[in-house]
Amino acid sequence: MIKIIDYKAGNAPSVLHAVRHLGFAAELVSQAENLSGATHIILPGVGSAKATMDSLNEMKIFPVLEKLVREEKTPFLGICVGLQILFEHSEEDDCKCLGWLSGRVVRFDNSQVRVPQMGWNEVRFVKDSGINSAGHFYFVNSYHAKPENPQDLWAVADYGGDFTAAVNSGNIFATQFHVEKSGEAGLSLLKNFLQQGAK
């Protein structure tokens, strides 16, 4: 079963709508023990990195998430803040994050661009992760990740200069844009992710 982590502040219901629309069975998970048995794990995210880390900590979900994703290599998709918390640190509220990927999350310079970035931006995929899509995707973000390992960079977009639009490392995929709200381009990427063979 595809499991979507629901920590009551994210937009898990929207992601569930999109996954079901694509014809897959999925369920929302709000308790750590219900994550076991996942064929795919999706971590949606809106709001701040700190609020997200706090909610996930409160759920005590990190040990099981680490085991499933990092040891057992279950396909994982992080969305928006679900991308940002994979890095070591976010500037937002000076928040320590998971550190699955090396690098930091920094704020857009609002003397250069309006913050938050809100809208459709053209995404350029810089490597083939096996589940690429193409086109314009919907972003809502004030912060963006700076991966230290160039090989983790999956896609970029331009907002006052190129920024990280998506990252990928093995079974870990994450998009700064909202695949569930990016029309057919987003649904296509989501479908590609879900169609990957289970671990």
């Binding site: 502040a9 219901p13 609002n110 309006r114 938050p116 909202h178």
Partner: protein
């Protein structure tokens, strides 16, 4: 590059889209979920849905209709009407909305903006406001609430700045003077707003033909435009598809999400 957004706006009564002129004389157009599905298929960039009677009837937004629309629409979806606290916001988000629009309630209880932004993130809180030209105010515009019926005594631009400080992630500015006139957006209003705040701005009220959109996007920094009549009003002789509007804008050098 970030593209300019076209947002279809629905005024909802009993689960159906209606169309008014200057907040009066609503006529029935279509079932909300059906029209929303059509707009999604036509590649609209975003949807906003106002339950226009929820506040005056002192009830929460029509959650069933929010759910039905959310199940058919995979672009951002904002809802407003009758949401007066965090609980109401959470109910609407749980039903599948991305963003909550606050308007009259924000004037009565500005803290709802701060609380909403703290609980769900700024990106979730859209401040919508109805403003009307009034030379007695420093900016030349006054804020109105309750479907543009009640003057608030607030200067429009001061109000926008305050809402930005409170944490609104986006501001939708509706010109009461232009609403329903089909004569174009209030460009001077948008220019004043863009100089005063840094959050993304949405222009609302007055669009009647494609050139109004290109005027807005080439003469102001507005990032998005609300359109409704042009898309579906039976009162207009000609309705436009998002595809036609995007083609027109693209030809005028405005960057839009291409129709594919």
């Amino acid at each position: 590059m970030l593209t300019k957004r076209l947002i279809a706006c629905f005024d909802i009564v009993d689960g159906r889209v209606t169309k008014a002129i200057q907040f009066q004389d609503n006529i029935d157009v279509a079932a909300a979920d059906v029209l929303a599905g059509e707009m999604y298929n036509a590649q609209i960039d975003e949807l906003i849905f106002y339950d226009i009677h929820a506040s005056s009837e002192k009830r929460l937004i029509d959650i069933e209709t929010v759910k039905k629309v959310a199940a058919r629409v995979f672009v951002p979806f904002t809802v407003g009407g009758g949401i007066k606290d965090l609980n109401g916001m959470y109910e609407a988000l749980k039903a599948g909305a991305e963003k909550i629009s606050v308007d009259s309630m924000a004037v009565r209880t500005p803290e709802i903006i701060r609380e909403g932004a703290k609980a769900f993130g700024s990106q979730c809180v859209v401040l919508s406001t109805q403003v009307k030209r009034d030379p007695a105010f420093p900016s030349g515009y006054q804020v109105y609430i309750d479907g543009a019926r009640t003057a608030t005594g607030l200067d429009a631009i001061e109000w926008l700045k305050r809402c930005e400080d409170l944490g609104a992630g986006e501001i939708c500015l509706n010109s009461i003077d232009c609403d329903g006139t089909l004569q174009g957006y209030d460009l001077p209003l948008m220019k004043k707003a863009e100089a005063a705040v840094r959050v993304p701005l949405i222009a609302s009220g007055g669009a009647g033909e494609p050139s109004h959109l290109s005027d807005l996007f080439t003469q102001t920094q507005a990032q998005a435009a609300i359109i409704s009549s042009m898309l579906y009003s039976p009162r207009l002789q000609k309705n436009y598809t998002p595809k036609e509007l995007k083609q027109f804008l693209s030809d005028k050098g405005v960057s839009v999400r291409p129709f594919v």
